[in-house]
């Protein structure tokens, strides 16, 4: 058995990217990918707090069957804004723009992304989009749900549909530019010797995500523009009263919308591979299967949109095709889960916070994925469609999967980003709290859905109360769980113990440079001579 040396008394480097320059200009006009990552981190943490607060208010309202707090119209605006903020202003940017921005150049041995100024522009576009959208929310909000279904959104909704749509429209350009930047960076900026099959699996996942960004985001932009055309100029596109077709909107929306779902989860799968490898000090089992499953997911994700429309008046045969393709996209996800699990076999499994998040991810993602089968199969979808079962399913993927992955990644690379350690005990406690609170929040919603409670109801029949109360209780635990890391990360940034370059004894180029890294990442361009996760000799047999 070989060993790695974990440094005993680490010290901070004298000059690094955080103290190389001071003043607000050095941040707001920076082209350093690491500083841009921080700009995004602050922005999306704000959006997450707002979106989370909205979820808390919704859960509070649902404690009483008649609604505890608010009028139905306020509730409608809350769940619409919650969905839009979480999807477009938190989850979609979360891992790509924070961890991706920080890590992609470092992991492939580059000094920055391919287009540093474009990278900063992406952030400004994102902030413009967020501002426009939040103004729409403050001025009265939008009450169409995040899906903008027509003709509700084009003819009947009274909210600020247009300004909200403009916000989403703009945010798409930020994602497109980020995706473009990453694709070019990964193609052209790899260090000598960093071949495709030596790339960390995080890079494969973000590459697949970036391709989806570039292909899917224009579709939502076009679709929102068509909504504006119909809403403002009454051009009949979607409203049958004007000669349009409401189901056409759903085709366009979900042609974007389902790939978008994979934009949210693929990066988290990439983080997972890094968490498991570092937490087990082991090469990921079946590296090429995990890598190609990311590509397969990205490709198939564009061909499953109709599974949102089994009951929408779509033809029976279209339903068969979309259902079959949906099963096809489930297989690569299952392959990933099996490979992560197999990596733990005969490993050195750490109980540090990042690995705890990884274990939590595998469990919750497994449940989320399997319950997806209920909705992807034509027959079972009939009764469960548009119920709380759907809400529970996608929160197991989006919160149980995507956010667990994001938080796990944040914990793994926090020492790299700040050069400081966080309090391990608090972090483990918060992780357990999030896991427990999450399951209490969304577990009962599966039963609610089977009982038939429709989603997006602000009032409901009294027999659903007990499950709603359980869910709301879970949400308060979950909220507390998310609050704790905010406190200890802030503390750690200023007062945390010094981490040193490689506190986890992990492999990867990012762990070979100081923490925090220098502005140029590498003093000399690294030359890569080994595969990712080269923790020891291959195929070693130790008794």
């Amino acid at each position: 058995m070989s060993t790695v040396a974990v440094e005993a008394t680490p010290t901070l480097p004298e000059v690094h990217y955080l103290n190389a320059d001071y003043g607000w200009r050095s941040w707001l006009f920076t082209t350093d990918h690491k500083r841009i990552a921080w700009l995004y981190l602050f922005a999306i943490t704000g959006f997450f707090a707002v979106g989370g607060l909205m979820a808390t208010l919704m859960r509070l309202n649902l404690v009483e069957p008649q609604g505890l707090l608010m009028q139905p119209s306020s509730y409608d605006k809350l769940f619409s804004a919650h969905g839009l903020i979480m999807i477009f202003f938190f989850l979609a940017p979360s891992i790509p723009t924070v961890l991706g921005n920080f890590l992609i150049p470092i992991m492939i041995g580059a000094r920055d992304v391919a287009f540093p100024k474009l990278n900063l522009l992406s952030w400004y576009i994102f902030m413009t989009a967020g501002t426009v959208f939040m103004l729409a929310v403050i001025r009265g909000g939008v009450d169409t749900g995040w899906t903008f279904y027509t003709p509700l959104s084009t003819t009947y909704a009274n909210g600020h549909v247009l300004s909200a749509a403009v916000g989403i429209f703009i945010s798409g350009f930020s994602s497109i530019l980020t995706g473009l930047n990453f694709v070019v960076t990964i193609h052209k900026m790899r260090a000598p010797g960093m071949t495709w099959f030596r790339l960390p699996l995080f890079i494969w996942a973000l590459y697949a995500t970036s391709v989806i960004f570039i292909l899917a985001m224009p579709v939502i932009a076009i679709t929102l523009a068509l909504i504006a055309l119909e809403r403002v100029f009454h051009v009949g596109i979607f409203d049958p009263a004007l000669g349009g077709d409401p189901v056409l909107f759903q085709h366009l929306f979900w042609f974007f919308g389902h790939p978008e779902v994979y934009i949210l989860i693929l990066p988290s799968m990439g983080v997972m591979s890094e968490l498991v490898a570092a937490g087990c000090r082991k090469r990921i089992f079946g590296y090429s299967f995990v890598a190609f499953s990311s590509v397969a997911i990205a490709a198939i994700s564009f061909m499953v949109w109709g599974h949102h429309m089994f009951l929408s008046g779509q033809s029976l045969y279209a339903g068969f095709v979309f259902s079959a393709l949906t099963f096809a996209v489930a297989i690569p996800s299952a392959i990933k889960v099996f490979n992560w699990t197999a990596t733990m076999h005969k490993a050195s499994v750490s109980y540090d916070t990042p690995m705890l998040y990884a274990i939590g991810f595998i469990g919750l993602f497994t449940i989320g994925g399997l319950t997806g089968l209920f909705l992807g199969s034509l027959g079972t979808d009939i009764h469960l469609h548009d119920t709380y079962f759907v809400v529970a399913h996608f929160h197991y993927i989006m919160v149980g999967g995507a956010i667990m992955g994001y938080l796990g990644g944040l914990h793994l690379w926090w020492p790299k980003m700040t050069g400081k350690l966080y309090p391990e005990a608090w972090a483990r406690f918060a992780c357990l709290l999030i896991f427990a609170g999450f399951n209490l929040t969304f577990g009962p919603q599966f039963i609610l859905g089977y009982m038939g409670m429709p989603r997006r109801y602000s009032v409901y029949p009294p027999e659903f109360q007990v499950l709603n109360v359980m869910s709301s209780a879970g949400a308060s635990i979950l909220a507390l769980g998310y609050f704790i890391p905010l406190i200890y990360f802030t503390w750690s940034a200023f007062k945390g113990p010094i981490a040193g370059p490689n506190p986890w004894g992990a492999k990867g180029l990012e762990w070979t440079i100081p923490s925090p890294p220098p502005t140029n990442n590498f003093d000399e361009t690294p030359i890569v001579t080994e595969e990712a996760y080269a923790y020891g000799p291959q195929e070693a047999h130790v008794g």
Partner: protein, 319 residues
């Protein structure tokens, strides 16, 4: 509060033939989910404990992966998926094919209420009375936005889309009262767009129908509309040149101007009444009635045309 816990919900009522079939697949998928989740959980916890890091500097032996293992966990899930796909597709076909003998009832969704019309005449709002053990086919459309007619106790649900007819069917097996929910978000009143399905014994249902005073059969109301709107000036019983005869039209095959042949069903008639400029197979001399009548009127006119069929019988409509 205490009562709340006594009524801890487990399963919605199983009150239709379909609900039983549906629940079998649901149980199977639930068992599958529990089995695989438990398998993964147990393996993870076993590995996490057995192979826990015992020394902070230790590095375990490495391995590359294992092709037979990869193939195993690709092929087994694929086979399970194929099995579930076939089972659930059959279930979906059954849910989408109402028996030819089904009694037809008409549903119009409107922000935020359900308007129901029985062919015999009674009209209801947010209530639907049906007899037990009789297959019922619902033909549905919307006046405004997309709604969705879902009855959890029957495990049925289908979007109600403006501009087109969608259908669903059920055969109730239990008498009683069951929830009707709008399942597609339709604006401010969405969560109050709910109603009750009253499943009655066949005798009670007959008595209920008879007790609905002042209700004329739908085709009679349709005939009156037909006259009020002046349809009868062109569509005369003798027939005029360029005007299609309505007798025997319903259920017959019509040749369109683009050469295709369609069956003159509800959707075809609706299209012909509201949008004559659409491909209906005749010169577009008829003005459009879009905006001049609501969806319930259209359904009554269709019922009238239907009553003019050669045998006056209901034929299976294809959607």
């Amino acid at each position: 509060m205490y009562m709340m816990w006594l009524n801890f919900p487990g399963q919605p009522p199983q009150a239709s033939t379909f609900s039983v079939e549906w629940d079998y697949l649901y149980y199977f998928l639930t068992a599958l989910t529990i089995f695989f989740s438990a398998l993964i959980f147990i393996v993870i916890f076993y590995f996490a404990i057995k192979y826990r890091r015992r020394d902070k500097n230790e590095v375990p032996p490495q391995n590359e992966g294992n092709l037979p293992l990869e193939l195993t966990w690709t092929i087994i899930p694929t086979l399970i998926c194929v099995f579930v796909f076939v089972w659930s597709a059959q279930l979906f076909i059954r849910a989408s094919s109402p028996p030819a003998s089904a009694t037809e009832i008409f549903v119009v969704g409107k922000q935020w209420m359900w308007k129901i019309q029985h062919p015999e005449g009674p009209r209801e709002i947010n209530q639907l009375h049906v007899p037990v053990h009789v297959p019922i086919k619902l033909t549905m459309t919307s006046e405004d936005v997309i709604h969705d007619f879902g009855v959890p106790a029957f495990r049925i649900k289908r979007d109600v889309v403006p501009g087109m007819y969608t259908t669903e069917w059920f055969e109730a097996t239990e008498t009683g009262q069951f929830h009707l929910f709008c399942d597609q978000f339709c604006g401010m009143g969405h969560s109050t767009m709910v109603g009750t399905i009253f499943v009655m014994s066949q005798e009670d249902y007959a008595r209920w129908l008879a007790s609905q005073l002042n209700s004329k059969p739908m085709f009679v109301s349709g005939e009156r509309l037909f006259q009020q709107l002046g349809c009868n000036t062109c569509h005369t019983p003798e027939g005029k040149t360029g005007v299609p005869p309505l007798e025997g039209l319903y259920g017959s095959e019509v040749k369109l101007q683009n050469g295709k042949t369609v069956v003159a069903d509800d959707a075809y008639l609706r299209e012909s009444i509201l949008g004559p400029e659409a491909i209906v197979g005749y010169p577009p001399t008829m003005p459009t009635y879009q905006g001049q009548m609501d969806e319930e009127d259209v359904l009554q006119l269709i019922a009238y045309v239907k009553s003019l069929g050669p045998s006056g019988e209901r034929k299976a409509t294809k959607q």
